[in-house]
Symmetry: D3
Subunit: 264 residues, 6 copies
């Protein structure tokens, strides 16, 4: 069991959900975000930190033996904030990890790292990245960095290409990409439990009938998601009209991101 | 035929060699570097430019219908210069290309993008990247960026994972990785000649008997390198003692880079 | 939702079963066969039509926005009827579809298109066809035609390689190849529901424990068959003696068809 | 050595060229075409024959122990002539072969059987067909028929996907697809010389630097083409302007055929 | 149904468990071991036999139409006993099978035939063997022998790479490798029931969530294991401390065997 | 450079040829065979040794820093001599190597380790073995042993699946499988020259046009065979009648061995 688990991006959507679900992983959870994390509990330490601040990141990481890294920009953005948090910020995080005890890391990559693969071809974790914008490119950067720090220094990272992590699927694409909060929590649990992690790529997706991702290569981790977006198909059909057959939402894994402009 | 070809990094090793070899590609060659490019010829325009200067890069690219991008840091370095030139600088270059005519680009990636693949397994251009340091990670970033700008905007890039481009091979690893200047020039010629380029990954390596790279997937480009590092084996054997069987120089594609420290 | 769904071969085994199961797919179902379709319901239009009659087929297709194509010869036959209905008839059908609104098509291909693949090697939908007779060859023709009309004109077809679609499995090979009527109906429902179909090949087989087909590549469609031939193993064992280890029934996917003579 | 070799389509382009080059394969060469074959030599028998005439085809095949089948429609055409010669005609040919001694067959398939594969991905002979029109579909039919007659009756066929067989390459696509007459003759020589042929698929292409086809899987046949379209690149560049990067000529293997209309 | 089933190694762990579970497979079960098999039942014949005794093995096999071969050394040992029982003994067994009716054989191979494949890469039955000691090498020998006798003489063998067959999983590696007795019995039942067996390689593993073996290629056999080691994870976690991330128990499929010395 | 190279089987066909060709590899060559090696030169040490004699083998290996292992039975034989020399003898050799300095080893495996792969499918070094008799099985054993000693103890072996090593090809199969003496010598030179060998499988075959083996995966070794069996095709055609299309000589890689009886 870990002594102190760091969760970055703790004030964001996933961070907020995981705070309660992951408290069994360590007696102390250190929560950080660029905005203040509210309502700290007895077992929680709160640190407000800009990932682009190298020294602050080093302080943040020191003393932690596990990191759940949700921090950084989580949607398409102009270059500067992406470069600050997702690019340089990640280098600072891994440098801190290298200097301070080699904590195991869960890195929140994204389906947008492979957003320009077509939806109608099931892919596994060996495909070459095809990002769908600057955000996706920053996630490919992060995967590469994690990979290098594993090969070079033995720091273990689970690269999780998160699909659509929301309370429930709310459009047709999410019937394939949905990841329930409980399944994400289950996955993070496995990541910090397996004796040897290495640096695997895992699609963060529930047990959806209509998934276009194949996690067979990481079956050895023992993660079996339990929720299924199919249970919400009727609800989605009722709420949303079906996309046209040539809409980005049905052509590419990354959906609307693939058609998004560059944010200048 | 192009009207104006931009070559970045023109004062560097490869740039200097290619200035003479590529002059047939366009009536005007625009040469840029962060240091001054010396001895300009009648057909050459010289622009001194820091790739980290967004506006300067936009000016640099404007009016060019082809780019040979050697610019940026070309060996392992501390993070700041890598981030400035290889990361942000590349974003500025592609943004400029997007705004100004979608010139075709030759992007000098590196074998260090796959530096942690073992030498004794022949790989092709479909493998997942395994970079060997911050420099290698910056090249994976560049490949991903090129890929996204092709998928999203149709900008064509030849991603060339350059091996060891020197006058001749001078150590045992280079008997596999050597790329002669003439073969590089031949490759660049093909890149700007094929009617449709797309965004292929090409190993920049001569016709070496002992190559560990397989370019079969890009045979359609019609590039056939002519030089062979094998012709220099006796010379290398005479000049250099053989590495031990567990030396980084013979274990990994990236050679000594894999054992290199992070430059803080 | 479609306005009018055409079902060819509606008087045959599968057509009869699907009439009741597919009525929710469109307010009007047009039923056609070379023999008269009996007992039309209020929501059904009946058209008697020889698929080898080009003009009649064009009339048949006009006004339909979906086609379930069971029509044509469904077992090994002499060449003339195969050529008339399965070859020329299919060309007429696709030409009509091209001229009249590009309806989405479910094409009933057959396991006999891959009948000479061995049973003891699980195959997916990327294998090269190995048909087991003139009927199987006609199905390979149909798959190729559907493919060409998709690439060239964007007409979407689900190519369904139907296994053994009967009330229940009645011999040992069907323990692998059985497709229940309900599972077929469920598949057809998905085919006309997915926003983007493309031109996938799907093995039409229930969720049989002993299947030798792998539908993983079309998991994105969200089809999950529910029946399992294994539930009938004891019944089959009781009713049928086991085939010899070198019998066509156990050697090849196509079973007895592989040993069948050409029908002159 | 064979006693009598049948060559169909003998009055066509390839037939005319092969008459002189293949005369060493058998003491008697039987030449057939739908038009009269002119100027028969002492070792040649001439038979005028419509492939759609079943009885005539049976007579034609009788007594031959090898067949070079160039006959039938060789470019995109309306359906009726394709069906007559390439579909029914081929069934008659194989039925005749089955009844009369199982002669070994060279079947002239075409690159148009895989015409909708992209040019910038090197393919081998295991890919699923993607034909580019009715002509291409007829070639997929022929491949399937040859395959079935091999699996079922042991009749051996070399399926040759002929590229562009002309005196020399005359456009940019042919720099990849050109097959010289001498190389075709050499291939046919090997086909009738190997002790065991089976039913392989062979890309009929010269030793072109810029080929997008990979014949590695049939290296065991011992065919090594000698000509190289690259020798004509300068000539093609001088004679033809380069296609645009989104022209069918550079996008797809089948070139202009992919954009061709259906011939009604 | 068989008349007489031979089970070798019948006094060992697996043999003892299978005696009761397999009695429905044949009216007579012949049990053999190098030590005496105790407590024979009415339907059981007991033969004490050293597998290294060629004549005794021939007698043993005679009259049996099925063999479950658990016999021989089942853990790492010095060379002489391995050579006697697992190497020569197996040759004698297959020679006897060749001479006496070609009984179908279940050969107990082992995960140690692939013990040096890493645990964090899911493998199927097509991988090249990587044994982890002399015992593992003897199992590769056995697989090769079974394969040759199938290719040459048609003797069918199911090569079962048994994981960890015990009452329940008792360490972390077994959460991946556990095979329950009931699942083994179910597998053996299928092996002797399928009409055509051939010579497949099957991973002998229960339906474990954390399995690193993929049996998809033998799905056609219709075996569906029912037990899941995951049900015992809490129990294992409570009883055993987790291995270090670089311990042989978590690095390699073969676990501690990979670090075992050669038994001189 | 090595100090002392051991060559076993030195009185055999290959040994005799290699004695003169390999003398540059070490100042002292130790030659051993079960029969006396004749005519020793000044740089040669001769040791008569039965590989089945464990102590003698240990003495033989001591003091050598490289081993070319041609020793043992080299064709199909009864079990006892195969077991003595190829099985136990090889264990003794590797045990001696483990105890005495871990010399690098060239292990003469054989095409008969994959003899039941079909000739008309080009294979590389990743295929699962399919031996064609007891001799072939002994070679699979040897490959597995070499593999285990590499994984476990770091002893490097080049596993060379020798084709047909004779002065020239003398039958049709050898047009594919021939290995010239000079090419074998060149390969052995590379094996002892590469800084890191590992444990690769190499097909020992000349640069034959009609090869059915693909050595691409070991291109990194820098071995380029120079001879080509094709130069002898006319000679073979003149001397030998062609095999029937269903003869073992043309069906299987192992040729006539596949049809050979077991030597009792």
């Amino acid at each position: 069991m870990m002594n102190r688990l760091l969760m970055t991006g703790a004030a964001g959507g996933l961070g907020t959900q995981m705070r309660t679900r992951l408290k069994h992983l360590a007696p102390t959870i250190r929560l950080s975000d660029i905005v203040e994390v509210t309502d700290p509990q007895a077992h929680e330490e709160v640190v407000t930190c800009d990932l682009g601040d190298k020294d602050a990141v080093e302080e943040l990481v020191k003393g932690c033996d596990g990191i759940v890294h949700f921090g950084g920009v989580a949607t398409e953005h102009p270059w500067d904030p992406i470069c600050n948090a997702n690019i340089s910020g990640l280098v600072y995080l891994y440098e801190a990890a290298r200097k301070h005890g080699h904590p195991r890391i869960m890195f929140a990559s994204s389906n947008h790292a492979v957003g320009f693969h077509p939806q109608n071809k099931v892919i596994d974790n060996t495909v070459y990245p095809q990002p769908d914008g600057l955000y996706g490119v920053s996630k490919v950067f992060g995967e590469a960095l994690a990979n290098a720090y594993h090969s070079k220094f033995g720091i273990e990272t689970a690269i999780v290409r998160i699909g659509s992590c929301f309370p429930k699927p709310t459009d047709h694409r999410m019937l394939s990409t949905w990841l329930s909060y409980d399944d994400l929590a289950g996955l993070i649990g496995r990541i910090f439990d397996v004796p040897r992690l290495g640096c695997p790529i895992i699609y963060g997706v529930s047990n959806n009938t209509a998934s276009f991702w194949d996690n067979r290569q990481v079956k050895w981790m023992g993660w079996q998601p339990k929720d299924n977006a199919e249970d919400y198909r009727a609800e989605v059909d009722a709420a949303k009209s079906k996309p046209a057959k040539d809409a980005p939402e049905v052509l590419w894994i990354g959906g609307a991101y693939t058609a998004d402009k560059i944010h200048e």
